[in-house]
Symmetry: C2
Subunit: 315 residues, 2 copies
């Protein structure tokens, strides 16, 4: 396990595993800003536990955290994890940390610290909770915070890979009586595999666009869905008119809706519905972004919105 | 709650609550190193839940994390928390976050981010787990990592305030049948109050000693006690000969030992036994440190230790 963690070390990591704190050389240039975030994977862990497959959970968490700070234009530097569990099963911990380490290594993020706590009074035997902490960096003048967004700007959506890490409490309720190993023709695969698909990381696609003045605002579509997250990319007084026809909602969301008789409006507030990340840009930058990022498509435009719902055009 | 969090903001915090990531101006000078750590308060939360008193838990976590990075010579910059809970009770969350914020404010740490996740499938109704993530800074040439420690150096102990955040699984088992509201003459107070005493923060006492070349190594006495943590302040091949007579073990530890018939050797491996933090220095620096820090006393000396137990002199 130490080897997979050390494989993530970049030249800016000092010291080694085992100290009370992790050392990372601070970005030396003036005008740099550290961007940090923390998150967990929520009850997706319950599915991983039920299926005995934990490697993807670590990957989910790293990708989620990278995407969060990416919305501000930041590139990730280092990551720490907190793992609380009811019983320390070495194989499970190795799978989780192996997934974290592999995702970190792929994206150039140093996994420099973590804490594993065996807490049988808090967690049921095989249960665990996993939280991640990420720190990245962006030049202050390149921070993307939506301040320059204007009515008429374009909203570009990037496709998600399934549910990512949100909506699992509802999804698990809907499929409580379902066989997770069943092949579902509409999904082209097994239900359990579809539900455990890792959270997509948008850094490889969005990273090359950063620092070029193309992107005015970004949103990671997590809990709250499009209506809850798109407004976070915009200044007050602006909203988004979405074009529902612009993208096809993936089959897994239709299956959840039908199986659970979930109202469509609730579906859009709980799940990403096929759009995992969104960019806001001027109309003049649209074609350059859409042609650079595989799967990117215009999903709406920015509109004036003095009050009320800030995202319109959804069911 | 937002007000108490904003009260922790230092001039280096950019932006405001609600973004996908938290912004903190990077230390501008060259040669600075970011020092980070993550930890939880373990099953001390179960006591807080049983007694319905959560403010101290936030303080515990912040102090624990500050102490961890302090061992490397770092001063804290910013903090994020992860709170997973079975049921979101606003009063409980406000107490926890209020405690976090107040401790951060007192020590000049910006509480710039956090995640609160309601996970009824993972946590029992009133249960929660709380993890913290801290980032601090130290000049690279002022990192304290024990490399200069030599045989004959002095080990100075600083007093703890009770159990801090370690050993609660054992302590709770020992007192499972005890009345937490009972006044215990030997403690001079109620059992529950003693067990919930906040983790002491050593930054105010040790901070003024940093950067003066006085301290060669430091250890935060957490899980594993003195035998588990003192070696972390030393290079390989060195150990510590402790003088058990140098400090009085506080009554709470004697009470745990007697009530639970816990073997004394186990007590020293599980609890801090009255020493919460330790400094290693050359004999010539001893008097300056001991006179500068209230309660500090020499508790042992560094000895050669080619193999075997690295901490000797304990029961």
């Amino acid at each position: 396990m130490h080897a997979s963690v050390r494989a993530t070390y970049t030249p800016d990591v000092l010291g080694d595993v085992g100290a009370f704190g992790a050392l990372y050389r601070s970005p030396g240039a003036a005008g740099q800003v550290l961007v940090s975030s923390t998150d967990s994977v929520g009850t997706k862990v319950k599915l991983a536990i039920a299926l005995g497959r934990h490697e993807g959970i670590g990957r989910d968490l790293v990708h989620h955290c990278i995407n969060d700070i990416l919305t501000l234009g930041a590139r990730p530097l280092f990551f720490l994890d907190y793992l609380g569990l009811g019983r320390l099963v070495p194989q499970t911990v190795a799978e989780i940390v192996g997934g974290l380490a592999e995702a970190c290594r792929q994206h150039g993020v140093a996994l420099i610290g973590g804490e594993t706590a065996e807490l049988p009074d808090l967690y049921a035997c095989d249960d665990y909770d996993l939280a991640g902490f990420i720190v990245g960096v962006v030049a202050e003048h390149e921070i993307v915070d939506g301040h320059a967004v204007r009515a008429g700007d374009v909203v570009i959506g990037l496709p998600s890979d399934g549910l990512h890490t949100n909506g699992y409490t509802l999804a698990r309720r809907v499929f409580a009586a379902s066989d997770l190993s069943a092949y579902i023709p509409a999904l082209g695969g097994r239900l359990g595999d579809e539900l455990l698909r890792p959270h997509r990381c948008y850094l490889p696609e969005v990273g090359p666009l950063l620092g070029r003045g193309l992107i005015k605002g970004m949103a990671h579509i997590t809990g709250g869905g499009l209506p809850g997250n798109l407004p976070r990319a915009l200044p007050a007084g602006l909203g988004v008119a979405l074009d529902q026809e612009a993208w096809a909602v993936p089959p897994i969301f239709r299956l959840i809706e039908e199986t659970g008789a979930v109202p469509r409006a609730e579906m859009y507030r709980v799940f990403n519905m096929g759009i995992g990340f969104a960019l806001v840009c001027a109309p003049a930058s649209r074609d350059e972004i859409v042609s650079a990022v595989a799967g990117a498509r215009v999903i709406g435009r920015v509109v004036r919105c003095p009050a009320g719902e800030r995202v319109v055009g959804l069911p």
